[in-house]
Subunit: 311 residues, 2 copies
Amino acid sequence: MKKIAIIVHGGAGPDSPFIRTHIKGYREGLKNSVEAAYLILRENGKAVDAVEAAIKVLENNTLFNAGRGSAINAKGEIEMDACIMDGASKKSGAVSIIKNVKNPISVAKAVMLNTNYKYLGAHGALDFAKKINMELEPDSYFIAEHQFDEYTKIKMEAFDSNGELAEEEINQRMHGTVGAVALDQEGNIAAGTSTGGAPYCKEGRISDSSMIGIGTYANNQTCAVSCTGDGEYLMEGVIAHSISSVMAYKNRGVAAACKEVIKIENKGVQGDMGVIAIDSKGNIAIEFNCDRMHRAWKKGNEKTVTKIYKD
Amino acid sequence: MKKIAIIVHGGAGPDSPFIRTHIKGYREGLKNSVEAAYLILRENGKAVDAVEAAIKVLENNTLFNAGRGSAINAKGEIEMDACIMDGASKKSGAVSIIKNVKNPISVAKAVMLNTNYKYLGAHGALDFAKKINMELEPDSYFIAEHQFDEYTKIKMEAFDSNGELAEEEINQRMHGTVGAVALDQEGNIAAGTSTGGAPYCKEGRISDSSMIGIGTYANNQTCAVSCTGDGEYLMEGVIAHSISSVMAYKNRGVAAACKEVIKIENKGVQGDMGVIAIDSKGNIAIEFNCDRMHRAWKKGNEKTVTKIYKD
């Protein structure tokens, strides 16, 4: 069997009692995600399809902030963003602030494969999802108990303090964006990212996850990258494309490029950042600047590795 | 007076009878845009404010596809995208698929200055614009005669042909996205881009113009860039950030970097691409791969130069 590999992440940021309480569930979720992708890669499936499969598992798991279990915004609603990119063709698809679709990553893939567009938002994205018969769910499906508790807590704090919490204040206590990068037997790589956004964020806030070059990027000549953390800082640094550019223009390997962008170029940045990356030779890289990054990977016949905190 | 400079563009793409008929109006519009920005720069105003002023002039001019005069989508509606970035702080603001605001670039600037977000879309963006009392206009304000003719023509073609034109087909006969880059007396640079999207495009289609690193990017250490052309190809090449990366990692000047990205890296790409760029020393660059790019600039005390076709 030729070299295959899959890495997934389930968000990066500060540690929390909630994470410690649910650590077993997180590890299981990450492992299931890796294994869903691995099955596809082993059967000579495409990297893009493996990335989609890995992300769907995490979107369907309430512990992660994507799909079911997404963060609830200040309006009490859930809006989701997702993006997928194929490193062989450099084609991509993305959706932002989409509601009610069970798997935003699959809508993003359909945008890539079945339209001449790359990026659809809001009602237009939902309309497209309906037209191609994507699975829909009612609002209640997406709301997880811990996300509702978080929403209520922030709302109460707002009520207790100044009457109203500034909607513009970002609260990102519960980072849990998910993402995956994969290498298939043909030597093609792909990346994808999906998120439920930031708790109590303003309606219409678009995250880095859906943005090509920021949260997601793939190019067979360099690498496939998926990012997580404080989205607004990832935008400022154009993180995914910076890693690719360091490889392309400074001739660095994937691990060195991730380290250079996260630990040197963005040293001192006040936001949390985490990246997973892979190149077409099967070299993998994981880099983050915070307490923990939910992550798991499997290379070739090696066992699946699952980690939450620093080594 | 220290070195100041402003460049604006009004879209790049194929030539057309409409452009030839209205060439005087286009030249006047570009000149007015440059001069609005220049007044600000001369009075020691900020590059970001000069960029906003230049773009507002073009948004208010029906000849350009941004603000009033925006392309009409397949649903018969106008949705607009805009982005602005400050090279000194690398802070940015953007809005996508926003309706009814007279000047989307000003909402983008307000997102940058008055929120902790960088990117708002659809209803959330409009809601924010209303909260901060941005000037609104009714739907009818935005619809220009030539855009309505274009919309009707495509719709009739659809009716005459197959009953319905595939909404996914991009029609970009009327590229007219606008953008500006500027250098102020403090040595800071900024970039901004605003668009009405593509004629008869799908509702919810988000353009490159609103995407940091794709259509717009600014960083005092490298350059400020605004792009125009076939958005989906600009996304694939992550054009604005690629130019910055070539400067940062390959130590090229701004003109050489623009040429390398447009004429070498993206040689043979089937989409139209045009870029304007400036660095903090006042070097400017304009590069495009198609028949024409509406553009104008003014450096220091030199006269304003206005061009439509190749030299």
